[in-house]
Symmetry: C2
Subunit: 165 residues, 2 copies
DNA sequence: TGAAACTTTCAGAAATATTTGAACGTTAGA
DNA sequence: TCTAACGTTCAAATATTTCTGAAAGTTTCA
């Protein structure tokens, strides 16, 4: 496959993947483009390559920096800002897990915790409800802990873990 | 907290969580309601409790059955169909992982695989592209394998794994 | 066979999310 | 200080997703 075709395909696939994950297409595509880029890119460059408006690019670059997976760079003698995405896939995975944990798992654990002190007349309902929410709480906490560990670990740890599985 | 309040809160939270995960709110709320329910519920019951249209309930029940996390039941002497969600949180987690793997991880691995045979004049770009996509391919495959293992394992295995971590 | 009791479908309406582009803000250097 | 070259914001436009409700389809049983 020709490089340019492969690149397009990659960007498109990354965008679709993003949608499945609740990340918007533009954001995922900008990230894909920066992953593939060999040099830092300016907002202008990105607008051009992806045919997006200035506002859209600006907004999504900010979101990507928020996720900690895109960095701003300054080139000497240039007014413009440039952007890069880290090429280390392992670091990327850790950063994404870390953020998803913070944004998605922590809040549900929070709510499940609050639900533990439920009271009511219908003993059966209440008992079943407590069982359910505490089971969910336990499992979420365990998954949470696992992801925390993962997002702080190094690749060696992960490979060793894989062996054990 | 009063039972009915707790129940509402749980359903609402589950709905919000769903949205973060690309699962629509109605679907997540129906699931939450069935999780909490002590008896199988009919479409009518769900419509009433969640104030949703017949079409919406029907559609989302189908989607939940597609995910394998809601089952249809028939009561003797009743024309209506009833629905239940398994109460086993562990089974739920396994089923969700299994489906997400199939729907989201497998397709990206597929695409990454196809991108391996890229060619082009710009040696540097091509080399970096290959490095990136093959790194992504490796990591995805490993995560895929892990999830597969997880979704076939029993709880004991998981607890043992947690110990090792 | 007919009709009541359900379930399913789907076109259009409503709600939500994304994107645009032009106005506004900021900064560096002349 | 002024202005060119950028970055940022946000109201409105567009696109996408979800939801509704009525019509069509199906099943059961009198």
């Amino acid at each position: 496959m020709e490089y340019s075709e492969a690149k397009d395909k990659f960007i498109k696939a990354w965008g679709t993947l993003g949608s499945n994950w609740g990340i918007n297409k533009a954001m995922a595509q900008i990230h894909a483009l920066l992953l593939v880029a060999t040099e830092p890119m300016s907002a202008e460059d990105i607008m051009e390559e992806l045919q997006m408006s200035r506002g859209n690019v600006n907004m999504n670059l900010r979101a990507l920096m928020d996720w900690g997976i895109v960095k701003k760079e300054h080139k000497v003698g240039e007014r413009k800002e440039f952007f890069t995405a880290g090429k280390d896939v392992w670091e990327l995975a850790k950063q994404v897990s870390r953020e998803r944990r913070r944004r998605e798992i922590e809040p549900i654990i929070q709510v499940l915790g609050e639900l533990q002190d439920v009271t009511g007349d219908n003993k059966k309902s209440v008992a079943e409800f407590k069982k359910l929410t505490s089971d969910l709480y336990d499992l979420s906490s365990k998954v949470d802990g696992m992801i925390e560990k993962f997002s702080k670990s190094d690749q060696t740890w992960f490979y060793k873990l894989l062996m054990k599985i």
